[in-house]
Structures are given as C-alpha cells and as structure tokens.
Amino acid sequence: MSAFPLPRLSLRFIPVWRRNLRVWRKIMVPSIMGNFGEPVLYLLAFGYGFGRLVGDLGELPYMVFLASGIVCSSAMYTASFEGMYSAYTRMSEQKTWDGMLGAPLNLDDIVLGEIIWAATKALFSAGAILVVAAVLGLISDLRALLALPVILLAGFCFGACAMIVTAVSRSYDFFLYYFTLAVTPMLLLSGVFFPLEQLPTAVAALAWALPLVHVVEIVRPLMTGAWPSQVPLHLSVILVYGLVGLTVATALLRRRLMR
C-alpha cells in the first residue's frame, strides 16, 4: 500500500450523507431559525450601522456589497464547523463512524459523505441569507440563483479543509487554532467586509492564494446583476483546495482509524 493512496470515490457516500440529513431533520426548526436569524442580525447590525458610515462602495450600496460577502463567509463558517466539531463528535465521541465501518462502507465513503454533508449545510445557511437578501431587496436579478452551485462547491472546499484538521485533532481545543490561524484571517482578507483593493499588495497576494476570495469574486457579481470574470480560474482554485483537502483528509484518517 502506498503511503498516500488516492481516495476511492463512490456513490456509497449517500447513506452517510442521508444519515446526517435524517438527524438534521429532527432538529430542523431550530436549525432553520438559526440559519435565518444570525445572518439577519449581521446584515442589519453591520449593514445599517456600518453602512451609514461607509456609504456606497463604487456603484454598490454597502448593504448590497456586504450581503454577497456574508453569503460566502457563511458558507465557509458552516462547512468548517460541520467538518470539525460535528464530524469530530461523530468520529470520536459517538463512534458513529465505527458503526458505519461495520457495514459495507469504507472510510473513504464516510469522509466523502461527511464533506458533502458539510457542503449541504453550507448551502442551507448561505441559501437562507440569499433569501433574506432577496426579501430586503439586496439582490439584482435571477442570476443570483447561479450562486447556489458555487456555494455548494465552496462548502465542499471548506468542509474538506476542515476534515484535515479533524483528522489530526486530539480534542476540540485544537479547532480553535484553525479558526484563529486560517478561517478568521481568510474572512478579513477576502473582500467580505471591504474591497480587496484596500489591502497592501503583499497581503492581497496572500488572499488570492486562499480559496474564499475566489468564491466572493464569483458570487458577488452574480448577486449584484453582473457576470463574473475569470470564472474557470476561480472555480479551479476552489476545486483544487477541495480535492487536495479530500485526498489529504482521507489519507490521514485512514492512518488514524484503520491502524
């Protein structure tokens, strides 16, 4: 067996995904309330509070600028949380994965199912913000619907990266490092709250090496009535992060659990 075998992709991830969906459905009402509640608070507090000070950014009212940013950051946060705290709980505390491994499922199926589930939850929460933004009149036209598949891909990307952290974690405390060292900087550097042009070139260059800015670059135009540019490039970066994340996470988890 080679040290870094590629993950074997298979539709057997579906029962794993469905298991998580089934649990989510049991607590659907509070989940959905949370999906709507938090972004509404963000939008209102930042948008009205900050927006008054900032005014318009170029052509865009600050609220419109912010709404598209929050859709993307919410996808990142939701997928990261699910890929770390929730997946770790199922792996380590609840032994849910051990149960699945007693069935004809491989660890690869479980990891893929968990990451796609993280992406699904990202879609739920970012989708909820999209709805809120539409109700508040912050969306230009139906092109915004095209943001949904991009969000799903972004959720996959961030879920896969989070799964690497889960694979090396010995306790919940460890996740804080990842949030402090990766997620929060990405949030601040990727044009969610203010345009990237405000940053020094070196910092902007770093931001371009990370996935979130590429998500924002596609989603923001789509929500504000324009066509994004350089879509293949942006999608490739997101996809590469996702696939590398999946590969590394699967290899590390095999080493951790199948020893």
Binding site: M1, P15, R18, R19, R22, V23, K26, Q94, K95, T96, D98, G99, M100, L101, G102, A103, P104, L105, N106, M258, R259
Partner: protein, 312 residues
Amino acid sequence: MDPLDPPSIPAPIAQAQGLVKRYDGRTVVDHIDLTVQPGECFGLLGPNGAGKTTTLRMLLGLTPPDEGALSVLGEPIPERAREARRRLGIVPQFDTLDPDFTVRENLHTYADYFGLKGRARRQRVEDLLRFASLESRRDAPISALSGGMKRRLTLARALINQPELVVLDEPTTGLDPQARHHIWQCLRGLLKSGTALILTTHYMEEAERLCDRLAIIDRGRVVAQDSPQSLIRTHIEPHVLELDGPTAMAWLDAQTGDLPARLWRMGDLALLYTLQAAPLTAALEQAGIRYLHRPANLEDVFMKLTGHELRD
C-alpha cells in the same frame, strides 16, 4: 456420488494463516492460524490484551495485517473486506449505537448502510425489534436503554443483512445473568439456522456452552485450539480438589513432596489437579480437612495455559 470424487471438504468460512500485527514495534498478534468452518461457533479466549480484538479487526478488514493471509466468506481480506462485510454481522466490544437516533431509527439507518429499501427494510426492522424484545422501546433514545437492551439492539443491528457469519467481541461482558441467558438463547437460535459465529469471551462457561471449537490465545499466539471437551481432556487432569483456609494449608505444608497431584497455590487457596482423586480425598477425609471435589473445566485449562498472574 462418483466414488472417485475426493470427499468434499467444505470451504472454511474464515481462515487466517500466519497472521501478524505489530503496534509501535510490539508484536500483539504473532503468527496466528485459525480456521472456522461453516455453521460452527468458534471461540477466541485469552487474557486482557492477548490480541483478540486486534485479530477480529484484521478479519473484518478494519486494520491491515503486517503479515499473513486472510480470507472471510471466500473473499481475500483486506482487499475485498467491504464485499465480505456485506454478508457478515458485527457486534463490537464497545457499543457503537447511534445516540442521535431512537431504537427503531438505529435499525432503520443501519439498514440504509446495507442498501435495504422500502417494504423490505420496514419488515426487517420490525422483525428485529421483536427478535431483540425491544418493540415496546422502539421510540426510546439510546441513552434510555439498559446495558442489556443496548447489547440486544447491537446484536439485532448486526443481523440486519441476514448474515452468514456473525463476529461478536465479548457479547455478554457486563450483563446480568438474565440478559446473558437471553443473548445465549439468541446465539443458539442463530447457530440452529446455520449461521456461523466467531466470538470472544472472558466467560469460560459461555465458551463451554456455545463453542464447537475454540482457540486460546496468549500474548498474540495460539496456545491451544480444539473443542472444549478435547481441550479439557488433553490439557488437564480430570479431577480438581479445591482447598482453602489455614488448616488446609497447614495440612498441605505437612505433606512431604509425595502429593499425587499437581498443586497450584495462592495465599490461602490451593487447587490440586489429579488423575485419581480417591487417594487424596481419603487422606483429606482422614485429616478432617474440608475440600471441594469437582471435574476439571475450561477455566482450569485456561489458567494452566495462560498462567495465573495478572495481565495488563
């Protein structure tokens, strides 16, 4: 039948040859050979840390062996472990029931992992709720179940795919006698219907009652492998005299080396293993020493082969 045909030997349902597993340079499974025939109940006995769980995990494809060849249900392991797991059931040493679900939902979800759908799944779940006598607790959360109920549910879950082989790692540890008898009853039912079992246990009585054959393993090696009766016959003297208390010990100390028995002694307790009990019992009666005379059992074999000192 054509007399020239070789006598048909049924293919073993599980076979391990030269199985080795090392953790951090320590050999925990050391060249184990096992053969389990269809329909039989095969036991793995061994002190804590002997390597029972590790052996089972290798058999199930949950950890790769460092050396050796393995096949289960005709599938090479670990290469086709997933295909083998499709046709077998697993009761792990520690429960892995899903705490996010109720009793019924646990079975339902597990059925989904096996690809069961629709009517067939509902029917199977109902059958297994009845099998585990958990119909009245169908909507209970896992946290509300007693240890015995959890174990029954785990066993029911292992049967969701009507397996040809069920692998059970200490199925009755920590259960009260009633719960244990209930599990034994279930296992006997499975054996009657032709399902093969591989089980580990620390209860010699359980092994003696259920197993057709068993392997005693110690420090990762098989030290004996046979039927319980043959093990008792070949490895130990048939009669055991148990003595305890200071008077008995004083009597033992006074015997000058010509005791017609193998003696094992710890503190105030002594066991005398002998081919012929009569001379000893006569001497004991004469001295007025209380003793217990019983036939040798599997526990005696186990203690003789694995030593009396504490493990782990």
